[in-house]
Subunit: 397 residues, 2 copies
């Protein structure tokens, strides 16, 4: 589990406190899960050895990201989905990324009441994370908490986050399947597009679909998906030599879909996916063998009446099956683990450059000259990189 005998071992093996925690964690104790999450969330001593020890255990859970604009009913839908999965005997972990400001905490907490009910269930574990205006390290932490829940043995890990910016899209990238929730209000589809939500969606749910405009929005979204599919394929040459596995490793969440479409197009499969629009009480589309390209469904739900939830869960299952059969699941996991390595390298280098190798002191002693225009940010940066052992004589430009 740990590497103290490996010539490459970077740190010592687990300390006794972590070893003890791991034993309780492996025995399935919820208190150990809670403690492990806290250690990871707050990067307390031992968080790295803990994550290292859990790493070989991850990969069972279906990670579902739920995002969308504020007020779309994401919490209610998350709770409804969790209840549905529980009724099938599955165990569910939930990471709720909550943009609650400390100043309005009371007002917004109402959203969580329904979720707290399901939190009483032994087969459900909920962790709320407040953003408090700072999303900097949150994508990283969310991914790591999802890992901890996965390692604990949950069948589904739902990551719920408000979808209003790039950082939240990074969080959605922690998921295998990303569900974007919209409500039938004027311009919601356009706002979703502005916020880049169209680019990450594997499934759409039009929630509160008993309100006027639900059908119209569903059609609008389906149409935008069509347009985008056409757009994505426009630039694809008939034959090209891109190594898709390499590309996948560098891919950003925003290009996931485009890449998948591109791949489908390149291989001569269905060139323009037809999004399926289904009513909450309507039929759920054909079952049977999964196509190699994924048709993004646009479902309608009324989460607080539990309508459309079973159909949504089925669509999520179809997406999971498609992920497995198409090889996309493996690609997404590769991307995710590569992200983890990059984040960790960045974390290590940051500490070394700024603290251990004097970057902070160089910057501080240069600030007056910088503000006065006597030194430039480029020269100071070069000095810091050299102090850190880097080569700062890079090419001009």
């Amino acid at each position: 589990m740990h590497n103290e005998h490996s010539p490459d071992a970077a740190v010592a093996g687990p300390t006794s406190a972590i070893t003890e925690l791991l034993a309780r964690f492996e025995a399935g104790q919820r208190t150990a899960l809670a403690r492990a999450i806290s250690i990871v969330e707050n990067q307390r001593p031992g968080f790295r050895e803990l994550l290292r020890a859990l790493h070989p255990r991850i990969g069972h859970a279906h990670r579902i990201g739920i995002t969308g604009p504020p007020g779309a009913g994401k919490s209610t839908l998350t709770a409804a989905l969790a209840r549905h999965f529980r009724a099938r005997g599955e165990r569910v972990g939930i990471v709720a990324v909550d943009p609650t400001s400390p100043f309005t905490g009371g007002a917004l907490l109402g959203d969580r009441i329904r979720m707290n009910e399901i939190g009483m269930d032994e087969g459900v574990f909920i962790r709320s994370m407040a953003t408090r205006g700072s999303l900097g390290g949150l994508a990283l932490t969310t991914r790591e908490i999802a890992d901890v829940m996965d390692a604990f043995g949950f069948d589904r890990v739902i990551i719920e986050t408000v979808g209003v910016g790039q950082s939240e899209l990074d969080i959605a990238r922690s998921a295998d399947s990303t569900l974007v929730v919209l409500v039938p209000e004027s311009g919601d589809g356009i706002q979703a597009m502005k916020a880049g939500l169209m680019e990450v969606a594997d499934l759409f749910a039009i929630n509160k679909s008993d309100r006027p405009g639900a059908d119209r929005l569903a059609r609008e979204v389906a149409m935008m998906l069509h347009l985008r599919a056409g757009e994505a394929l426009r630039d694809v040459p008939a034959h090209h030599g891109v190594d898709m596995k390499r590309a996948a490793r560098r891919i950003s969440g925003a290009t996931h879909r485009a890449r998948r479409m591109e791949e489908a197009g390149r291989q001569g499969r269905q060139a323009e996916p037809t999004p399926a629009v289904t009513r909450p009480d309507g039929p759920d589309g054909p079952d049977g063998p999964q196509p190699l390209s994924w048709e993004i469904p646009v479902l309608q739900t009324i989460a607080d009446q539990e309508k459309g939830v079973a159909e949504l869960a089925d669509a999520l299952d179809r997406h999971r099956a498609w992920l497995r059969e198409s090889g996309e699941l493996l690609e997404r996991r590769r991307t995710r683990v590569a992200d983890r390595v990059r984040d960790e390298v960045h974390r290590m280098l940051d500490r070394q450059v700024w603290q251990e190798r004097g970057g902070e002191a160089i910057l501080e002693s240069s600030l007056d000259a910088l503000v006065a225009g006597a030194e430039t940010p480029y020269d100071v940066a070069a000095r810091i990189v050299r102090a850190a052992g880097g080569n700062a004589t890079d090419a001009p430009g």
Copy 2:
């Protein structure tokens, strides 16, 4: 202007193409400005030497960040403010960060028509930047383009961006004065708080204030500012030894306001700023000597009727005067230039670690083992850091 004779010089002096461009730039040619911005925006060869050469020329412009939710009328208000400044004989540069998706470009471009009109004015220069779902390097680029405009000699540089996430808040941080624009619609104040906009605002404008609910929203925002002021002061001990100048250098946009309040509280000045609420056609509050703590005004505007715009411009001037007199302007510029150094160090290290020193190859050759759970992200990261010349034997945890 450049450093080729300095023992610390990291790169050679400007190439002849850049020297020629600089001469035209310094002569005030708009085509040279446009070209300089393009070079910087796309990081074309020479962008670093260009920025280095321009660095000593920056510091004249008042940088105004305008942010707020989509649909708040930011573009219209930006255009109205620009016209107002122009009428006073000032020159105005505008950086419009446009989240337009390539798929809906047509629909959203309508917003820009009013702005294009003022773009015909020789004293105005507009640069639109599309985000296309990727905000990664945008904050950096926006800051650099604002620098180029500042160096060109504009009196005001307005940075307009949709305010829906952390990256956009980073962009707002490029400004001396940040104006948050809201509209009197249900829950707009709460959404602004959720998105962290309250934390960065120096001024609020309730735009479209002829709509119902404008007064209520203005009162709501003023009340939230009061609450927050109380909250920020709650944790402040009577005496403590924090070096505020040092703290300011590391400060994030989100804590700017809290720190200012903290400082005011610590020094026994007005403990709880009283936000001023003014109607578009009402009086504009007292003139005269500026207080050392800034009272965030909540103004009402109707941008497309030019109402409240003069009052808003006056409030921006008062804020600029306050920034200068309180020393806050210097602190913000220190923060900004420190950010620039950090970004540049990150850019240099990134290239070295991943490309020049084989990080990418190590990661790639480890991916299968990582996905299989045979290797952990922490061990692979440590190997990459060691390959880059770093010390990866960090303390556990």
